[in-house]
Symmetry: C2
Subunit: 447 residues, 2 copies
C-alpha cells in the first residue's frame, strides 16, 4: 500500500474522482470503540438521531462469538458467524464506520489516539473493546496454547486439531502418537466445555472414516479446571449434568487442577503430566489494554470500574460497557455475556440521548436472560431464573435462541442448513485447513 503519493513524472493526469466530503456535524459527536454486541447496541439506539456517531473497530466485521467454537471444531465457516460492520450499521446517515485501532484515550482532553498517530475528539466516548483470555501471569503460555476470541484464533485451533490427526496417522512412535491424539482444554467455563465437547464429538463421529491407521475414536480430550466444578456460574444440578454429559462424550475432567506447567509436551496439573500435542486455552479474562490508558481504577482483570450510569467516576462523558467494564449488580459482578453487553449498550445510548436532551440519566439494571452451554452435538444445559433444562431440550432451546439472534437472515439460513446437514450426516463440513502460518500463532496486535 502506498503511504506517499506516487512520483508525478509521466503520470496519467486525472481529475480527483472522489472529493472527500467534510464530516457532517449535525449534533455532538459520539465515538464508540468496538463493534461487538455492546458497541453495536449503542450505535443502533443512536441511529437516525441528530448525534454524529463514529464506530471504530480494528476488524471489518462483527463476530457472533457464541458460535466461534463451531468454527474451531470445523462445523461452521468464518463468514457464517461474521458480518461486515458496514452492512449492519453503516447505512444510517449519522453513523460512520472506521477500521482503525485505538491505542490510548485521553479523558481530560476528550480525545483518543489511533495507531498511526491520528487523534480524534469526542463529546461522548463509549469503550466497548471487550476482553481476551488471560494466562495468569504466564504470557509465554499463549504461544503454545491459543485462546478462542477471534476468527484467527478459531482457525488456528481448527488447524492444530485437524493436523494433529494428520501427524498421528503417520507417526511411528507410539508414545508420540498417543500424545498427538490427546487434546487438553484449559478452563471449565462455557467456552471450554463447548470446545472440549465438540472436539470429542468430531473425533468420535466425523473423523473416523477419514483416517486409516489411527482410530480417531481413541482420541483423549481432557478438560482442566482450577475450580471444583465445570460451569461454576450455573446452578449445581446443571454443573453435575454437564459433567456427566462430558464424560459420556469421552471427555476426562480434571477439577481443582490449575495448570502448573505448560510446554510443547503438554501440561502438568496436580503433579500429573498429561502428554498432549494440542493444548487449548479457554480460561482467564483480561480486558482490553485500552483501559489502562485511562488512568482510572481497574479491577484485577483490567476491567474499568464504572458507576450506576456506566460512566467512569470523574468523567461523566466516558462510558465503558461489556466485557471491558466492571459493573456491580444486585447479585454480584455482571457477567461478560452478550445479553449483558447489549443491555449496557442500550442504557448508555439512552443516557447519552438524555444528556443531549437535558433529561436525567438512568441507572443500569441487569436482567439475567439465563445461561446456556452446549455439550457435544445435541446436548446442553440451560438455566433461566429457576428454570433449568438439560439434555436435548436444552440444546433445542439453545439452537433456537442462537439462530434467532444471528444478525443477518442470510447467515441464519446458512447456519440452519449446515446444522441440519451435520445433524443428518455427522459431517463436519468445514474441515478445510488453509492457513499456512507456522505452528505458533502471531503475537496479538498491540493496543
Amino acid at each position: 500500500m502506498p503511504t506517499t503519493p506516487a512520483p508525478t513524472t509521466a503520470q496519467t493526469p486525472t481529475a480527483d474522482p472522489v472529493p472527500a466530503a467534510p464530516p457532517p456535524r449535525t449534533g455532538r459527536r459520539v465515538v464508540i470503540v468496538g463493534g461487538g454486541f455492546g458497541g453495536l447496541a449503542v450505535a443502533r439506539r443512536l441511529a437516525d438521531t441528530d448525534l454524529h456517531v463514529t464506530l471504530i473497530d480494528r476488524s471489518n466485521h462483527h463476530l457472533f462469538q457464541p458460535l466461534l467454537y463451531q468454527v474451531a471444531s470445523a462445523a461452521l465457516a468464518p463468514a457464517d458467524i461474521a458480518e461486515p460492520i458496514r452492512s449492519i450499521i453503516g447505512g444510517h446517515d449519522n453513523i460512520e464506520v472506521r477500521l482503525a485501532e485505538v491505542e490510548a484515550v485521553q479523558p481530560a482532553a476528550r480525545s483518543l489516539s489511533l495507531r498511526g498517530g491520528e487523534e480524534l475528539g469526542w463529546d461522548w466516548l463509549v469503550l466497548a473493546a471487550g476482553a481476551r483470555h488471560g494466562y495468569f501471569g504466564r504470557p509465554e503460555w499463549e504461544a503454545e496454547a491459543p485462546g478462542l476470541k477471534t476468527l484467527p484464533d478459531a482457525l488456528e485451533i481448527r488447524r492444530r486439531v485437524l493436523l494433529a490427526f494428520e501427524q498421528a496417522e503417520w507417526e511411528t512412535d507410539p508414545h508420540l502418537r498417543a500424545a498427538l491424539m490427546t487434546f487438553v482444554v484449559v478452563g471449565g467455563g462455557p467456552t471450554g466445555v463447548e470446545l472440549a465437547g465438540s472436539i470429542a464429538d468430531i473425533a468420535s463421529q466425523s473423523l473416523p472414516g477419514d483416517f486409516r491407521r489411527v482410530d480417531t475414536r481413541q482420541t483423549k480430550v481432557v478438560l482442566v479446571e482450577a475450580g471444583t466444578s465445570v460451569l461454576g456460574s450455573f446452578a449445581p444440578p446443571l454443573r453435575e449434568a454437564a459433567a456427566e454429559q462430558l464424560r459420556a462424550l469421552g471427555v476426562e475432567l480434571r477439577l481443582g487442577a490449575p495448570v502448573e506447567k505448560l510446554d510443547e509436551h503438554g501440561v502438568v496439573v496436580k503433579g500429573e503430566r498429561i502428554a498432549a500435542g494440542t493444548v487449548l486455552w479457554a480460561a482467564g479474562n483480561e480486558a482490553s489494554p485500552i483501559g489502562r490508558s485511562l488512568g482510572v481504577p481497574l479491577d484485577r482483570a483490567g476491567r474499568v470500574i464504572v458507576g450506576p450510569d456506566l460512566s467512569v467516576e470523574g468523567h461523566p462523558d466516558l462510558f465503558v460497557i461489556g466485557d471491558q467494564a466492571h459493573v456491580e449488580g444486585p447479585t454480584g459482578l455482571v457477567p461478560g455475556v452478550a445479553p449483558a453487553a447489549q443491555q449496557m449498550g442500550r442504557l448508555v445510548a439512552r443516557n447519552i440521548l438524555a444528556d443531549h436532551q437535558r433529561r436525567p440519566r438512568k441507572a443500569f439494571s441487569y436482567r439475567d436472560k439465563g445461561s446456556m452451554a452446549t455439550i457435544g452435538r445435541s446436548k446442553a444445559v440451560a438455566q433461566l431464573g429457576r428454570l433449568r433444562l438439560r439434555g436435548y431440550l436444552a440444546w433445542l432451546l439453545w439452537a433456537i435462541v442462537h439462530l434467532a439472534t444471528i444478525s443477518t437472515f442470510r447467515n441464519r439460513v446458512l447456519v440452519f442448513i449446515k446444522w441440519g446437514w451435520a445433524w443428518f450426516t455427522f459431517d463436519r463440513s468445514s474441515r478445510i485447513v488453509w492457513t499456512q502460518a507456522p505452528a505458533r500463532p502471531p503475537p496479538p496486535p498491540e493496543g
Copy 2:
C-alpha cells in the same frame, strides 16, 4: 507440537491405544504427488484395484480452482470450493492419503524425499503438483503483487481489496485516495479477466452502500496484458466480445503492455505510470519446483517434458501430468486446464494398470472440452470447437458446468444458494476479512 516424546517421570501410564498397522501391500505401490484435478483422477481410476496407492499433498484439501477468483472477490467462502482429500478419496481400502510436502524425487532409485527427511519408495510415480504464477524473472514482484492459486492467495487478495476501500474512506490526500481506489490486474488470460471483472463488479454493485466518503463506483480497474489481446487462447470474435464486456463493466485495458516496473506505488507499462494501491498478478506460469529435482528436460516454464504415454523418457514408471507437464498435442501444447489434467490422470491410471496386467500402454489424446471465462456477474464467453457463445447464455452454460463439476453435493447446494442470493441482492456475502497477516504475503513454501 511435540517432536520428541514427553519425559516419562510422573506420567499417567496408558496402553498404546492406537497400534499402527503396517502399510498393506496387496500389489505394487503407486505414489501420486498432488491432490488436484489430475492427481485425484489417477486415484479414482486406481481405487479398488489391487495396487496400493499413496496420495501426497501439502494441504489437506482439494481446491476447485476455477472458482478461486470468487473467494478473492468475496462472493464465496473458502470451504465452498474446497473439500478434504480424505473425504473424496480416503475411503477406499487401497488408497492412503498423506499430508506432506515432497522436496525431491530420485528417479533412478525410485524414491522420493519428503520435507523432514523421510524417504518413500515407489513402483510407479505420478507427479501432479501443478504450477504457480511466474514473475518473469522478477521474484521481488511477488511480495507486492499476489497471485491467485491457493486459498491463502485468494484471502490475501480479498483482504487487500476490501482494506483498500477502508483506507480510501479516511484518506485525506486526493492523489493517494485515487491510487487506493485503483486496482491493476496483470495478465489477460481467463484468471485475470475474471478477477478484473469481479472487482469492477463488486466495486460498482456491492460496495457503494458500505462507504460514505468515497464513491466506490469511481473505482478504476486496469487490466494489463503483454499480448495484443485478452483471452488470447480464445477465438478472435470472443476476444473482442470479452474486451467489450470488460469495458462495459468499467475495466480499462492496456494491451501490448508488459509490466516494466512494479512497486508499492503501482506499475509502469508502456512508459505510463499507473498509480495503484493494489496490484494483482494473474500472469506467467511456473511449474512446481519438484520437476527440477528429476534431472530431465524441462521447458521454459519448468514443466517436465513427457512422451505420448505421459511418462518421462528413460523413466517409464515416472509420469507427469496436469499443469506440471509439457505435453504436445495435435494442435500444440496441451493447455493447463482442469479437463486436460483429468484426461491425463485417467490415461496414466490406465497405463499403470496396463503395466500391472502386462498389457500395452496407450498414447494420450487430448479432447478439447472448450474454454470459458466469466466477465462480471452475468456475462461470459465460451467456445467449444466451432460453437461460440457470449453474454448471458455463455454465463448460464458456465454456471451449469461448474456447479455440476464441484465435487460434493453439499458444496453444490451452498454455492448455488450463494449465487442465487448474490444474483437477487447484489450482495457479496463473504466480505469478511480476518487475516491478521502483514500487508506482504509470506514467502511461498519451498519445494
